[in-house]
Symmetry: D2
Subunit: 109 residues, 4 copies
């Protein structure tokens, strides 16, 4: 058994011990991901690009991961697979020769 | 080599081939996570809890994961470790006997 | 003098008394709007559509408005004007006869 | 009649002509505010603090305002009142003598 399923199992145990599956519908998990992403963002507010408190970044980024894992589990997604698929799609949208060194969106390339 | 580092390497290769590391400071990665989280949320707007388009959820959730991985890589975080640490913290904030079956926040338990 | 400029002046005074204009660049104001929007969203997490605490909604929604006003002020936008312009644009994207009673996005109509 | 109620009436007419009130529950309006805030944020991604496209900022900021107005209308909030109330609260959390020139959060002052 490998990383993704290990952590996913840990999260599912945590959730089930608390009988929280009934709250964890996909829509509310999407809200949770956004809320945690907002808390992560707050660590950078009014600050330079590298000035966030690293210990807090660890915690808030971990929260984003936790809810993202729980959503993947809810849908039965294979995280590695959906990421690999998306990287492939992005490689088509952003061919190296066109996108190298520029931060433009694919529809502006 | 296990899941997390495999995917992380794939993402780093993708980024480096395009010379994008220079854009990927922690603050902008936090923005990117929020933007992708917002696109994921949009799939649920005006809809019931389970009515989002699954194929699109796959893509938007994968985007959240990709930028979360890239932020972890930027800081040199061990994703498995920060998640395990956070689950432990949450277990203290939400002891089973107090939090079972309720969606209250820890400061309202 | 009317509502928008009155409130805007109040906010600008509040900001200037604290010498905060130097932090309030457009990018960080966009972060602030997102962070406050996330706090507003949290009041609805794991809850039915009407179950948020109204007193807290008032506060978080007010925060969203405050930073949105400060961003408008930063750019010198006339809030009434940009809203009226956007309503006109949306009326073209969502003609009554096509969009009546449906929550579909304009590109799916 | 003043700015806030004029614009609010315009938005309510727009919504009612399309029979959209049934979709506009407070929770989904909170989602909409977050989604639009995310689109506003995207205009600043990988960019300097002042490098966003102003014409697009106008549109996305207007979208944030529109949904914020619609949420206020849904609850029957007086926008001017909730903003004035919040500014007063913030003035207590951030007294001038403590907060002048610093971007620290109130709990770190």
């Amino acid at each position: 058994m490998c990383d993704f399923s290990e952590i996913s199992n840990e999260l599912v145990n945590f959730r089930n011990e608390r009988d929280w599956a009934k709250f964890h519908n996909p829509k509310d998990l999407a809200l949770a991901i956004n809320i945690e992403a907002g808390e992560l963002l707050e660590l950078f507010l009014w600050k330079g690009a590298d000035e966030a408190n690293q210990a807090k970044v660890k915690e808030e980024l971990a929260d984003v991961f936790c809810y993202a894992f729980l959503m993947a589990e809810k849908y039965g997604f294979d995280i590695k697979q959906i990421m690999t698929d998306k990287i492939k799609l992005n490689a088509e949208k952003y061919p190296v020769e066109k996108s190298k060194g520029t931060s433009k969106k694919y529809n502006e390339l």
